[in-house]
Symmetry: C2
């Protein structure tokens, strides 16, 4: 692989999102391993993706805060109230990412992948013309840089949306996009494209 | 004009957004008049667009609540704290639209046009491939229907994003989009396209 440094990526969750995200890291020539809900938590890579629903992500963070120390922990959740589909379950001025970060004071928490439907991560396109873009937010600049670098050859575009505080807006964006898809105003292969 | 009923549209504000919105209503063969900050408030149409910054929109609502009774009042604002560009000035669980609606209990308040940059309303495209889509939210279904019908021949697409409560998410979406443009991650001719 010449001078290319591969990053080791660990993905909690083997669902559609976990698999789609993992494939992109593989496409970009990183090493990926998965941890399912019944698996022992070991062999954790430098980048950890919590590709599980928000309540499960919180539990993983609480149970494994020591093992996740110094790791880049990526929160992909959209913390909807799935009974009402009418609000988020996190405080309005906060975010799932901020709540997770409070459980992981020694990890580098990044919000990412919550604004991209699984199908658009697989096809690397939103609809049939627009490249899929991953938006990310974090207070740790080196974490964002490594995440972006690790996806450079994946076929996805990556945009830095700012500090972790912007996770509030990324989650509102993801929530809105999901409500439009659920109401068939957009398809799960489409959504919000980021057009430069 | 055959059986086509034109809608009378009044736009408060003569800035880039007001002019771009007004042109679209003209393109769709509606009648448009403008009210500037020094003008007398009269000849108000069935649809009223408050194409001014949020603090000015609040003042217009407070001063003219009687004149705006039974009107469709469209709030296009993104209520940023323009000193910090780091938060909105409305409560986190509310929205500019909800705050305006509380001042206009007898009007039909619609959130719309806050997710489309002025240049994309003029060109009717986000970037060079994607049609510009106006997202709207309101508790008044007939108001949303008339607004959508009045824009049918404008060249813009219109998507119903749900109840006025969704204005929180539309404003987060608009805020995020503005921060990305201000940081030159996207251009003011691009932004978030709604791809079906």
């Amino acid at each position: 692989m010449g001078g290319i440094k591969m990053t080791k990526v660990t993905i909690f969750g083997k669902g559609n999102m976990g698999k789609a995200i993992g494939q992109n890291f593989v496409d970009a020539r990183n090493e990926v391993n998965y941890i399912g809900s019944d698996d022992t938590v070991k062999n954790i890579g430098e980048i950890v993706i919590l590709a599980v629903p928000y309540p499960a992500a919180l539990k993983i963070a609480e149970k494994n805060s020591e093992k996740l120390e110094n790791k880049i922990v990526v929160d992909i959740t959209n913390p909807l109230n799935f009974e009402t589909w009418n609000e988020l379950v996190v405080p309005a001025n906060s975010s799932a990412a901020a709540e997770l970060a409070s459980k992981l004071p020694n990890s580098k928490v990044v919000k990412a992948f919550n604004t991209t439907f699984a199908a658009t991560l697989v096809s690397k396109q939103v609809g049939d013309k627009q490249q899929t873009t991953v938006m990310m937010a974090s207070d740790d600049e080196t974490a964002k840089k490594l995440l972006a670098d690790s996806l450079k050859e994946s076929g996805l575009a990556v945009v830095d949306a700012g500090a972790l505080k912007r996770a509030r807006e990324l989650e509102a964006f993801g929530f809105l996009q999901m409500t439009l898809a659920a109401k068939e105003k957009i398809s799960w292969n489409g959504g919000f494209g980021i057009i430069k």
